[in-house]
Amino acid sequence: MANRDSRPEPGIGWLLWAGLALLLPLPLLVFDGMVPLVRIVLLATVTAAVAIREGAAGPVQMILVMFVAHAMIYAAVLALAARLASRALRRWSGPRLRRIVFAGILAAAVLASITTPYATPFAPAPRSSLLGVLS
């Protein structure tokens, strides 16, 4: 049985993972993008919809595989990062920590919404804000 002190704070890991998935720019190979995981999931979803509606002919299948692979790998890497971070934060456990983490994510989201930290090769503009990558 693990020592209680070594266990991460319940919920903090998930909160961190969600924050990273929503905000952290990640490299999108081949197309030279830097976008958060949610954007990659969005691209994969749209491409999957095309494959289902029209068939996966030509490059559709390849591009879908690329997006899904990106999404799965990054989801796993972010989960690991979130878990490690929550372990590092365990000594400040409690509702206060959750509030601090939440506030930090909120602040980062505001910052990402008023600047253009993302390189979005697929969008009409080369750089986007958080609102841009979620739209």
């Binding site: 509606r53 002919a57 030509g58 969008a123 080369p126």
Partner: protein, 641 residues
């Protein structure tokens, strides 16, 4: 005085080429007429926003803009901000003719996705194309073009009806633009042709053809790869809907980029897998009289080989365009992936079936996807789009894929600048291609040209009088002497800021087929590669000796009267800076200082990318056929079966 003028006119008439053109349209007679023909420079491969791939990567200009550009006006280039172009381009020297050849495939889809009044505008695909242009481009372009069994999107409706209907507007607009910009006045300043590109790409293997119509009488709708997925089907459609329709409709098809066809561009088998026969070969050569030897996406003259170092020119290392980003798939190109070996193969096929299916004249063009025909200058090259560089976000400092190039020009020898005269030149293959410069090249073949011909003021008169021009069959042999070829080249004079580089040498390439084996040999006939010419990479200043004119009268020392052969000339300039060197200098890249070459400017310091280029021209071949029955009776004007 009148008598002298009369004598001159009679002499010119006697020396003039026998095959004049027939007028198939109503127009004013041209004020200027050159009985011994003039070279007219143009571009037969031009895409505008009517092409899905051009629209998808940010091009907003139309066929009207393309013709405006060809005539010398400035037009906008992407990116567009609030509808206004952020860049512009303008030719230093206008063209004499141009053909807009938008992709016939996706012509309707491109309209539907941009016009909210059309059904299908709100479809998933169109929404995606507008919302995420590069993703839309990446998914849609390959979905249709690179598919062995292409089919239309569901929003096109049953039998593709909605997309067929939507394609009528751009097809009409293409014809209207060609008509509007065709100079039918006696000045004959500029000629347009109605055209389109049939975009066959089974499994990513490029078998594209550009279709050029002789006059305003054209197909009701362009043939598409979607409905007609083989070249054989395309020829059949052109025959039924144009050449044999009983009207004035006439057309040719110009294959391009055999270098990325994976060997499928010039097949010797029918669609059903059986070998072609004489009728097939005749049908093919009736429609395919020219081949585009060079363009933006690479040169197709010859494969890299130890015996001809000049084949190392604007080559791409992949055999299919879709393999460009996957070096693990790069492999040697199959036979007939290049024009030279196809010309040789045609001689072998002629021996087998009695007719040469690959009797191809040569031209160059750009394949611009920016509506910029003739934009070939190395020093100002902004790329050509075509999916190689996504321009919708901006033209990057290193503006193109480093393995691509600005493309070339088509040159036609004709009596005047009118559709009929130029089309007749394309039909009889009196044409040549350049990699960009406006070199003037003459190439004649005969049996008794005098050695002094180059010194004669009557070079062209003698050429026509005693022999044939490029694109023709040698006349019947009168003696045991070998054939004589007279080749002359004038340096591009430049002007308007365009560069003028001296000529370095002329070569004659001989092709023959013996014992089932295709052979080739390159002969140096004028100038020398050892002229000490070079270029300063920092300033792009050229130096060393070179020629304003090169000329030679050459006899084939290895002539075998029993063996069919083809001969073409290659004219080569002194080295000059390639477009990437200009781009790197413009951006002050210093390969010793990494901070000066971020992003794609890293290509500047890639030793694999050539820094210089030897621009060139390739003439159409002259064929020698021992058996008179197999000699081309001469497609002098209209194709006849």
């Amino acid at each position: 005085m009148t008598t002298v003028a009369g004598v001159v006119l009679v002499a010119l008439a006697l020396a003039s080429p026998a095959a004049a053109f027939e007028r198939s349209e109503s127009r004013a007679a041209c004020r200027e007429r050159a009985p011994l023909r003039k070279p007219f420079f143009g571009d037969t491969h031009v895409h505008t926003s009517y092409s899905f791939d051009a629209m998808g990567q940010g091009t907003r200009t139309t066929p009207r803009d393309a013709y405006r550009f060809a005539r010398g006006e400035a037009i906008g280039l992407p990116p567009y901000v609030d509808g206004a172009a952020s860049n512009s381009a303008q030719l230093r020297r206008p063209l004499d003719f141009a053909v807009v050849t938008d992709h016939s495939d996706l012509l309707g889809e491109t309209q539907i996705c941009q016009n909210p009044d059309l059904d299908g505008y709100d479809s998933l695909i169109c929404t995606l194309v507008r919302r995420w242009p590069l993703l839309g481009y990446s998914l849609v372009n390959g979905y249709v073009y690179s598919n062995a069994s292409p089919r239309r999107y569901s929003f096109c409706g049953d039998g593709g009806r909605a997309c067929h209907a939507a394609a009528r507007q751009p097809w009409s607009a293409t014809q209207a633009a060609a008509e509007e910009f065709y100079d039918r006045t006696p000045s004959c300043a500029f000629t347009t042709f109605v055209g389109y590109e049939w975009t066959g790409m089974p499994d990513g293997n490029n078998i594209h053809r550009n279709i050029v119509f002789r006059n305003e009488e054209v197909q009701a709708a362009p043939t598409t790869y979607l409905e007609t997925p083989t070249a054989e089907g395309l020829w059949r459609a052109l025959s039924e809907e144009c050449l044999d329709s009983g009207g004035r409709c006439d057309a040719i098809a110009i294959p391009h980029n055999s270098n990325v066809s994976n060997g499928l561009m010039f097949q010797t088998r029918r669609d059903d897998g059986s070998p072609i026969d004489a009728d097939d070969a005749r049908r093919r050569s009736r429609i395919e009289t020219l081949v585009e030897i060079t363009q933006h996406k690479g040169d197709s003259e010859c494969r890299l080989n130890a015996n001809d170092e000049l084949c190392n020119f604007e080559t791409v290392p992949w055999v299919r365009m879709m393999d460009a980003m996957q070096p693990s798939l790069w492999r040697p190109a199959p036979p007939r992936s290049f024009v030279r070996e196809t010309l040789a193969s045609g001689l072998g096929e002629q021996a087998r079936v009695g007719v040469n299916p690959f009797k191809l004249g040569i031209i160059g063009s750009t394949d611009t996807h920016f509506s910029t025909p003739g934009m070939v200058d190395e020093d100002t090259h902004p790329g050509h789009g075509a999916g190689t560089v996504f321009a919708a976000h901006g033209i990057p400092p290193f503006p193109d894929d480093p393995r691509f190039n600005p493309g070339g020009l088509a040159v036609l020898w004709a009596e005047e600048n009118s559709r009929d005269a130029l089309f007749a030149a394309m039909r009889r293959r009196e044409a040549y291609g350049t990699s960009g410069p406006r070199i003037v090249a003459r190439f004649f073949g005969g049996w008794d040209y005098p050695d002094s011909m180059c010194d004669s003021a009557s070079f062209a008169e003698l050429g026509y009088q005693r022999g044939v021009p490029m694109g023709s069959d040698l006349p019947p042999r009168g003696s045991d002497a070998p054939p004589v070829f007279a080749v002359s080249a004038l340096r591009d004079p430049g002007g308007g800021g365009a560069p003028s580089t001296p000529l370095q040498r002329i070569q004659i390439v001989k092709l023959w087929s013996a014992g089932g084996k295709d052979e080739q040999r390159v002969y140096e006939v004028a100038g020398t590669p050892e002229n000490g010419a070079g270029v300063d990479l920092a300033s792009c200043e050229t130096h060393g000796a070179g020629a304003d004119r090169l000329c030679a009268v050459w006899r084939d020392p290895d002539f075998d009267a029993a063996v069919p052969a083809a001969y073409y000339a290659r004219i080569v300039e002194n080295p000059s800076c390639r477009w990437n060197t200009y781009a790197c200098n413009r951006n002050r890249v210093d390969c010793d200082r990494p901070e000066t070459f971020a992003g794609t400017l890293q290509h500047c310091c890639d030793p694999q990318i050539p820094k210089t280029i030897q621009e060139r021209a390739w003439t159409s071949p002259i064929w020698y056929t021992p058996n008179p029955a197999q000699r081309d009776s001469g497609q002098t004007d209209r194709a006849r079966q």
